[in-house]
């Protein structure tokens, strides 16, 4: 009888080049997505400008000047005009990117982590646990996200921390639901059964076999929520529930410039344009990520 097991195990690893990992492939494919790269460059520029705002911005974003209120775009010393208190718009937009990006990314990231845990566990274990979790999620899902964010923010009180908390709560249900539905599909695949048949426990199966197939679509979906989060955060600030004046924040700026819409419309829409460009860039990047994550390309 041939000795089957031993020589197989004893064989030294053959000198095959280590196969490039999955994420290396994603990066390589992302390199072919020109629109996504452009969007990524835009986001990178905004992030860099926000981080190095102290060096990039021409002036102090809070320095007011009653004489120079509502200067048009292109005025000397005011490249993008001045707001209703004579503050330099360009500086305010650059400094405002800090808080706007922060309030866009942080709630989505926290919700991505928590929502994935909730959704994947509900999808994988199924049964009554799934029913309990997903019906609870549905309760939150029943409210329009804007309404829920406003209600939570209002109940928790104004402020940046409370806005972030309420936005996180708003984003957990949709992320959990996506994670649950993808996990439910993956769970029934034969490779999950094959992993069970090899003796692996549920947590190892989730980590090794399920996570990689679920996290991609959930991540792409979460990326697309960053723009929603930025708009919602701006909305909260607009309503006076988020950032407080004179802190530069795009939503708040849009609110205070609202009164000037007939006098200096081009200056008044600038914060809106900043929100629009940033959220579009995040959406395009997430689209590119989604196609780059398809192994079949």
């Amino acid at each position: 009888m041939t000795d089957a097991a031993s020589p197989l195990v004893a064989t030294a690893p053959s000198p095959v080049a280590a196969s490039p990992g999955y994420w290396a492939g994603v990066l390589r494919r992302l390199g072919r997505e020109k629109v996504a790269i452009a969007a990524g460059v835009v986001i990178l520029l905004i992030v860099l400008a926000a981080i190095f705002a102290d060096f990039v911005a021409p002036t102090d974003p809070t320095k007011t000047s009653m004489l120079r209120r509502l200067r048009p775009i292109g005025s000397p010393g005011y490249l993008l005009g001045a707001d209703e208190l004579g503050r330099d718009m360009l500086s305010r937009l650059i400094f405002g990117a800090r808080l706007s990006l922060f309030m866009g990314v942080v709630p989505v990231f926290v919700a991505f982590v928590l929502g994935s845990i909730i959704g994947i566990s509900a999808g994988f274990f199924g049964g009554r646990y799934n029913t309990l979790v997903m019906r609870t999620v549905d309760v939150f899902y029943a409210f329009p996200s804007v309404l829920l964010a406003i209600a939570l923010s209002g109940a928790l009180g104004a402020g940046i921390a409370n806005s972030i908390l309420s936005l996180t709560i708003v984003f957990i249900p949709p992320i959990a639901r996506i994670a649950e539905s993808v996990t439910t599909q993956v769970r029934t695949m034969d490779y999950v059964d094959a992993a069970r048949a090899s003796g692996a426990g549920p947590f190892l199966i989730i980590r090794a076999q399920v996570l990689g197939n679920v996290i991609g679509p959930v991540f792409v979906y979460a990326t697309s929520l960053i723009s929603v989060a930025m708009i919602l955060a701006s909305g909260l600030s607009f309503l006076g529930l988020g950032a407080k004046p004179p802190t530069p924040e795009w939503g708040l700026m849009l609110n205070t410039l609202r009164t000037a819409i007939y006098i200096q419309p081009w200056v008044a829409v600038l914060p809106g344009a900043a929100i629009f460009i940033t959220s579009i860039a995040f959406n395009l990047l997430s689209d590119g990520l989604r196609s780059a994550m398809e192994v079949k390309n």
């Binding site: 004893a10 080049a17 992993a195 090899s198």
Partner: protein
């Protein structure tokens, strides 16, 4: 058999072949009263597998045939403990599976399965060597050892590791993927391999290659197969014994030549008559069986085959026939016509009444 355990490498010890505890006479797998009813709505169940008993002997290949929905795949998943049985027990080499002597994880090292869908059974985001190496790592092999073993096994199933090890499932053909699945099933050095329609999705030429590979591997790794298929020709080619299922029950089981040459159950006869033949003179023009199998939610009383059986009598509608061996050659059939003294007009005359 013990030569495997003498190897000093710890990696080899982890995946050493399970000892032959019960001896040659003990069946490798003994299934008794295995039952699975899937609830579909309040009070109604699909009787997918309804109290079946069978054995798989050491070193043999047991073929399981039957129409779609007869419970073949459910049986495979029950045997693999991928779904929980409602009743019945499994003895693996004389030891109760999931019991004190043989915990589930230890059993799973010794029994593996190859699934029908070669694509769905491989993680699309893992390279094939990672898929094959997963099981050994679960059982404590280091990553390097597991990868080395995976590459060696890929070589054994005809996929040159240097070319294929780092590929993803979608980069392979169906036949190549099924070879990977076979390598994965062998990665834990099991004693029993369940092949659930493992070649059914492959085209004929690839199917033949994979079948030959399976025969070679059975020899080399000293395996016992349960070979599930709806293809009677393939089952005949592969099997030592064949089990025919109908509506969640075993209707006939016996040595392959006896069963194909002298089928005792009218359902088996109908299946065999429906086999495609290369010889035009042997082709059947009419469907040997009318209609579809009855609904397994509410199977017919008595013999489950009686509504489609050309020889059904009043007895068949009331009394379920037992799976019994009338000749003592290990060829059992669950049909009143095969059992002396059953009361069916075509039953052989009972020896007592003759004497």
């Amino acid at each position: 058999m013990d030569t495997r355990a003498t190897d000093q490498a710890p990696a080899a010890a982890i995946l050493a072949k399970g000892d032959d505890r019960g001896g040659a006479a003990t069946p490798l797998l003994a299934v008794s009263g295995l039952t699975k009813h899937f609830p579909i709505a309040r009070g109604t169940v699909v009787r997918a597998v309804d109290g079946i008993d069978f054995e798989v002997r050491k070193g043999e290949t047991l073929g399981i045939v039957g129409e779609s929905g007869c419970g073949k795949s459910t049986t495979a998943r029950l045997v693999m403990h991928l779904i929980a049985q409602d009743a019945g027990e499994l003895l693996f080499d004389g030891e109760l599976v999931d019991g004190q002597a043989l915990p589930l994880k230890a059993y799973r090292r010794q029994a593996q399965m190859v699934f029908q869908d070669s694509y769905a059974s491989l993680n699309p985001r893992m390279t094939i060597e990672a898929s094959v190496a997963f099981g050994p790592q679960v059982h404590g092999l280091s990553r390097d050892d597991a990868i080395a073993r995976a590459r060696a096994l890929l070589g054994k199933v005809g996929l040159e590791p240097a070319r294929f090890a780092g590929r993803y499932p979608h980069e392979l053909s169906g036949g190549q993927r099924q070879r990977v699945n076979i390598a994965r099933a062998l990665a834990l050095n099991p004693r029993l391999v369940i092949l659930d329609e493992a070649v059914s999705a492959l085209d004929k030429s690839v199917e033949a290659q994979v079948l030959n590979l399976l025969l070679d591997l059975r020899q080399e790794f000293d395996l016992t197969y349960v070979f599930i298929s709806h293809d009677l020709n393939v089952v005949r080619f592969m099997s030592d014994r064949v089990m025919v299922m109908y509506l969640g029950e075993i209707v006939e089981i016996g040595p392959v030549e006896a069963l194909y040459a002298r089928p005792k159950h009218p359902y088996t006869r109908a299946l065999l008559a429906a086999m495609p033949s290369m010889d035009p003179d042997r082709r059947t023009e009419e469907a040997p069986l009318a209609g579809d199998p009855p609904n397994p939610i509410n199977p017919p009383a008595g013999c489950r085959f009686h509504p489609r059986c050309p020889f059904a009598e009043a007895l068949c509608a009331t009394k379920p026939p037992a799976l019994r061996d009338s000749e003592g050659a290990g060829h059992k059939a669950a049909c009143h016509m095969a059992q002396p003294g059953s009361g069916h007009s075509r039953a052989p005359v009972a020896p007592e009444t003759v004497a």
